[in-house]
């Protein structure tokens, strides 16, 4: 830690890295945490339930309850670790698997023991084809690291006889909806990484078997709960949302990156862990591209599902992007909506037609062609699309668009003026994956 930075309060998942200063090998991991305890399945599920752990991929579903449902299935189960991280502004799962792969793998092995799984599948984001040339070679070197890091960690465990359940790593196509849990199941079974409609994976997942799918970070918390117990887990965070969570913080902050904070930490405090705003902010995007814009007045909002719900919002995954005053939030949102529209899996009418229509309306707003008719049309569209796709992709896009209208409502008056908005030409704060 450099002088002057805030002390990392309640750092758990990242503690090993802070102490070591480099990614943990199996020997480092064992030196710090010791081997995972050999708790029986039922007692692990009970510990996770008592800990109150919820999924860290954005849904916030109680992990213990999900484990219990999968364990109750009649056929041998499967465990799927979701590190496919389709959100462009998220890097936490990549970071975690890079610096502490054995925490995630411990959690996966413990979960497999608890639900009676005979197989673990780790899903990471496939890397872009870097093309040709020296720069591409350098990128190729970097790009290969995540799947390779995890494969190497798995191989180390096998050599050390610390891999009780066969584990494989698969690289999922880098599409936004490929990280949806039914997409992962379909990808593993058929090689098609699009969401499906029908039973949820906990009932019928990989190969028709009950499947425990959870975010990579959730597994790392399981690994710590198994060692230190539910009371320890609850010793930070809030009563209804215990423990810590990883947040990827980017945009106008001094030290963009992945930070860890107890759930319940106010949004503004999480920004401070990333160095704080580097310039005056007009809004913060919380929860990624299926999330919501927050006005500066809401920076005191605690990062708990209930606090967000009380404000009419959803917390979503740990992603924060700070939007500086010099940016145009409408143009930024329009660019993201165009990308989200292009990322539909092309399966469901309301999503396939609705998202491009909303994106086109936002493009009009961004280019200052504002009219009452446009607002009326957009309002109507935003009200009919949610809940009508096979996955939640359209719901997220609608949530994002509606929050942009709310939070940038005043700025939209500038767009309605004859002179228009001078900031709208260069949207660049919210990252859009490169074409590949």
């Amino acid at each position: 830690m450099t002088a002057g930075t805030a002390a990392p309060h309640a750092v758990r998942l990242l503690a090993g890295y802070h102490a070591l200063g480099r990614p943990a090998k199996l020997s480092d991991h064992l030196a710090q945490y010791g081997p995972p305890p050999t708790t029986t399945g039922a007692s692990l599920i009970q510990a996770v339930e008592e800990a109150g752990l919820t999924g860290r991929g954005g849904g916030g579903f109680p992990t213990g309850r999900k484990l219990r449902s999968v364990a109750a299935g009649r056929r041998p189960a499967v465990v799927v670790v979701n590190a496919a991280e389709g959100e462009p502004a998220s890097a936490k799962d990549r970071a975690l698997l890079t610096i502490a792969p054995h925490l995630v793998l411990d959690g996966a092995a413990l979960a497999a023991g608890a639900v009676g799984a005979r197989e673990i599948v780790i899903c990471v984001h496939a890397e872009p084809d870097p093309g040709e040339g020296a720069e591409a070679d350098a990128r190729r070197g970097r790009a290969r690291t995540l799947a390779d890091t995890v494969r190497r960690a798995v191989a180390d465990r096998e050599r050390a006889h610390a891999a009780p359940v066969p584990t494989r790593v698969t690289a999922v196509p880098p599409r936004y909806v490929a990280s949806e849990e039914t997409s992962l199941v379909r990808w593993i079974d058929t090689g098609d990484a699009r969401p499906s409609f029908g039973p949820r994976p906990f009932e019928r997942g990989v190969g028709g078997r009950p499947t425990f799918v959870s975010n990579a970070e959730t597994f790392a918390h399981i690994a710590l709960i198994a060692r230190y117990g539910p009371a320890w887990f609850r010793s930070c965070g809030s009563e209804e949302a215990p423990g810590t969570a990883l947040f990827t913080v980017s945009g106008a902050v001094a030290r963009p990156g992945v930070v860890e904070a107890p759930l319940g930490t106010p949004i503004g405090e999480v920004l401070r862990l990333a160095g704080g705003p580097s310039e005056p902010l007009q809004a913060v995007l919380a929860g990624g591209y299926g999330g919501t814009w927050l006005p500066p007045e809401l920076l005191a909002l605690p990062t708990t599902p209930s606090a967000f719900k009380a404000a009419g919002l959803a917390l979503g995954p740990g992603i924060l992007v700070a939007l500086p005053e010099r940016a145009c939030g409408v143009a930024e949102s329009a660019r993201v909506l165009a990308w989200l529209a292009a990322e539909t899996a092309g399966q469901c009418g309301p999503c396939v037609h609705g998202l491009p229509a909303i994106a086109a309306d936002f493009a009009e707003l961004a280019s200052c062609r504002v009219s009452t008719e446009l607002y009326r049309r957009l309002d109507r569209r935003l009200s009919v699309i949610s809940g009508r796709g096979a996955c939640r992709h359209p719901d997220g896009a609608v949530r994002f668009a509606a929050s942009a209208l709310r939070v940038f409502g005043r700025h939209l008056r500038v767009h309605a003026r004859a002179e228009g908005c001078l900031l709208a030409r260069w949207p660049s704060i919210l990252p859009i994956p490169e074409e590949w």
């Binding site: 409609f197 029908g198 469901c348 009418g349 309301p350 999503c351 229509a357 569209r381």
Partner: protein
């Protein structure tokens, strides 16, 4: 016993036939895809007919467990 209609959005091709048979419950959006409203018990026979007639078997009649 309460029932509800649900659409498999991947199977639905937006024929709109269901909305013709059951306009009380099914509306179409501007692209011709069904928006499902609540189903009163009196409409159950018509709902069954709409389910049977959907050309892609995308319309499903299920017990409503949400209430």
């Amino acid at each position: 016993m309460t029932w509800r209609l649900r659409v498999d959005p991947i199977a639905c091709t937006g024929h709109g036939l269901c909305a013709e048979l059951l306009p009380e419950t099914i509306d179409l959006d501007e692209w011709g895809y069904p928006i499902i409203g609540s189903l009163s018990d009196g409409l159950l026979p018509l709902a069954r007919r709409a389910v049977a007639d959907c050309p892609t078997l995308a319309l499903l009649l299920e017990r409503d467990r949400t209430r």
